[in-house]
């Protein structure tokens, strides 16, 4: 099955572009980025703050089932143009990653379809590459943890 999401990350560059076409009118696509309860659902995180305006900011926080915070991110909004564009920063707290700059462009293709283009700029090529590898590393770590759980049950 072909993934609808495309990623362009040229070697030796410190940015990447994520594009995705949605079977949604652009207004609904944009709304998915601005309503806290909806952001919380598709990003699988708690939304502590989401101010949809220039100079506004946002804060996300994710906890594990024991209530320990495992992920915390925040950013500020530089441009907020409904159904057209959001420019914002994104910072993962308590991590070695520097804040990144994100340009989110929303474009209507037809009444029922739209495209999101997300241009992300990192502090360095190295940081971008580390960020790209994160989901793979997490997959392996999760497998390790599950394995440890399974092995400790055998004893």
């Amino acid at each position: 099955m072909e993934l609808k999401t495309k990623i362009s990350a040229k070697e030796g560059q410190q940015d990447l572009v994520i594009t995705r076409e949605f079977d949604l009118p652009v207004e609904l696509l944009f709304k998915a980025y601005t309503e806290p309860e909806i952001v919380a659902q598709w990003m699988s995180t708690k939304v502590l703050k989401l101010e949809n305006k220039k100079y506004g900011g946002y804060e996300f926080e994710t906890s594990d089932p024991h209530g320990n915070v495992v992920f915390k991110a925040n950013g500020v909004i530089h441009e907020y143009s409904p159904n057209v564009r959001i420019i914002r920063t994104f910072e993962m707290e308590n991590s070695p990653f520097a804040p990144q700059l994100e340009f989110l462009d929303f474009e209507s293709i037809s009444e029922e379809t739209s495209t999101l283009t997300m241009h992300v700029i990192y502090k360095s090529v190295d940081l971008r590459d580390q960020m790209l590898k994160l989901p793979f590393a997490q997959g392996i770590n999760m497998a390790h943890n599950r394995l440890q759980d399974a092995v400790s049950k055998l004893k």
Partner: protein
């Protein structure tokens, strides 16, 4: 079970990832690998077959036994790649799309 030769499909499965971590430490026979899981030996052996076809596992023979171990070179190739990152965003966007298709305005 459908046999897929796509490495990213191969590592998307939690059991297969667990197998990879297991034999990263030490080469094992299919029987010993299967002892680490609740699934049947037959199921595990299919997982091993998929991983071997994707070259994520290499094998060698010692007497009558076949031993499997993680192919570090292939694993690194996969790790360098951006596919899991793309998969993560695709999952998120699929969720977003499904949510908004059922969206009812509050007013």
């Amino acid at each position: 079970m459908e046999i897929r030769r796509d490495v990213f499909q191969a590592i998307a499965d939690p059991t297969r990832r667990a197998i990879l971590s297991l034999v990263a430490i030490q080469a094992m026979t299919p029987g010993v690998i299967a002892e680490n899981f609740d699934s049947s030996r037959q199921t595990i052996s299919k997982h091993i077959q998929i991983l071997a076809e994707c070259e994520l596992l290499s094998q060698y023979q010692n007497g009558r036994e076949i031993y499997y171990l993680t192919n570090a070179k292939k694993m690194k190739e996969v790790a360098d790649f951006i596919e899991p990152f793309r998969q993560m965003w695709d999952d998120r966007f699929n969720k977003l799309e499904a949510l908004m298709k059922n969206y009812k305005p509050k007013k």
